[in-house]
Amino acid sequence: MTAPMTARLARELAAAVDELRRMTVQVRTRGPAGAGVVWDSEGSNGSALVVTNAHVLRGDQATIELSDGTVARAQVVARDAKRDLAALEFEPPRELLFAVVRDSPPLRLGEVVIAIGHPGGLVGAATLGIIHRVEQEREAGAPRWIRADVRLAPGFSGGPLADTTGRLVGVNTMMQGSLALAVPAAEVEAWVRRSHTPVAR
């Protein structure tokens, strides 16, 4: 039996995961590594920016390991414990592939999403799921989350949740039962713009 569609699906999925892995880094301080998303390379003096969860970091310094194994020292330049976001700056050893935020169209319920992380030291693990809930209305002041039916594990924190075209839809932040909660990418983008003032060197 030939299954051309399944074979194509498998190939395309592998390619999408491969691309996402290249924009996903390991963020290490003390304890187990978390994940981070290469945000852009328009920092001061050509430095690159990585976004991760605040809870992944201990202290103001971290070691970033890129998908090709290159290691760099990074400095925390912004942190918001309440929204659980942090931004780090580092000198990129080479040209980096960075995340492209999906501004539109809006997320649809049932849409396929991919999460990348490093559960239990397994670097660049991928998991597939669908959007579980799209909030219609929310209580004033309540944090906005993207809820996905994606099985995460510790080590996915700070990593990307992306759509099937590889565009970033959120930063994976926590698990609620078997549900993944991610900070919406648009909100991360606004937070970075607001809080990131390049470090003077």
Partner: protein, 304 residues
């Protein structure tokens, strides 16, 4: 670039959107609302175990409006309930009855545990043949699922990749394992609930245990098999007691069909058997004996 993957994503979202127009939230318990499906115009199907009261039930429609609903009937043994809505018009889903789901088929469970619709995906992990709940209800082919259960799972629909409803989900029929009551069973139960408000089931009032008939006796009586059912309990004044069955009788056949498992008896006890005599063959004192037993209507919440 990645066209099959993107099409899959779009088709799943389309399926969710189309079937989601018929998924409602039901407020009939203390905790968070449960889900229901607008199965036929004006009729909502839900799960029995998520409806803890018979009055003051409200339903939140896909457009966000909340309206009162009345309970048309419930069947604890299949965990199904039917509610009626008056004067509401919104879509009913397309229900897939012609092609049974296959093991490995990609499916989505929808729920509405509040104003927002929810979705989780997985595969059908097992399709059981005709299956009986512990209370004796027959479910045509229970679907066991490999997917995560979230709030609002019970009472929501299981849909295929084209948005067609395969059945009603519940977490209460198989010890918390997510299962789906297939559309054909839902149709049958809902029809009867709307007509009568309850599901009639015949019962005999016996408890049985499988036994092996000694070879010599089996030969002497020219039995077809050597496994039969020993009557180990008899409800005093129940249908079997009334009609002369005794403790220690070994039940061989009902209506000419060999019974070698308690489920074989249940298979002969559909709702239409109430009050209609059955022919039973038993071994009593080493002799074959034929009796007439008339099943009664099973009182609520009693097994066997």
């Amino acid at each position: 670039m990645s066209t099959v993957l993107q099409s899959l994503s779009t088709e799943l979202a389309d399926a969710v959107q189309s079937a989601g127009r018929a998924v409602v939230a039901i407020q009939a318990r203390r905790r968070i609302p449960a889900s229901g499906v607008h199965w036929r115009p004006g009729v909502i199907v839900a799960t029995h175990h998520t409806i803890s009261r018979d009055e003051n039930i409200t339903v939140t429609l896909p457009d966000g409006t909340t309206v009162p609903a009345s309970l048309a009937g419930r069947d604890p043994s299949t965990d199904l309930a039917a509610l009626k809505l008056v004067g509401q018009s919104f879509p009913t889903p397309s229900i897939r009855l012609d092609t049974p789901p296959k093991v490995g088929e990609l499916v989505i469970a929808l729920g509405r545990p509040g104003p927002s619709l929810t979705a989780s995906w997985g595969v059908v992990s097992r399709v059981d043949g005709p299956w009986r709940t512990w209370q004796g209800a027959e479910i045509d082919s229970l679907l066991r699922l490999d997917l995560a259960i979230y709030d609002g799972f019970s009472g929501g629909p299981l849909i295929d990749g084209a948005g067609r409803v395969l059945g009603i989900n519940t977490s209460a029929l198989a010890r918390g394992v997510p299962v789906t009551i297939p559309g054909a069973t839902v149709e049958r139960i809902v029809t009867e609930l709307l007509e009568r408000g309850t599901i009639r089931r015949a019962y005999l009032g016996i408890g049985t245990q499988r036994v092996r008939v000694p070879e010599s006796l089996a030969r002497k009586l020219e039995l077809q098999g050597d496994v039969a059912l020993l009557i180990v309990s008899l409800e005093p004044g129940g249908p079997a007691d009334r009609d002369g069955l005794l403790l220690g009788d070994v039940l061989l056949e009902i209506e000419g069909a060999v019974v070698s498992d308690p489920a074989d008896i249940l298979a002969k006890l559909g709702g239409d058997r109430v009050g209609r005599p059955l022919t039973a063959r038993v071994i009593r004192g080493g002799q074959m004996k034929t009796l007439q037993v008339t099943p009664g209507e099973r009182p609520k919440s009693r097994a066997a």
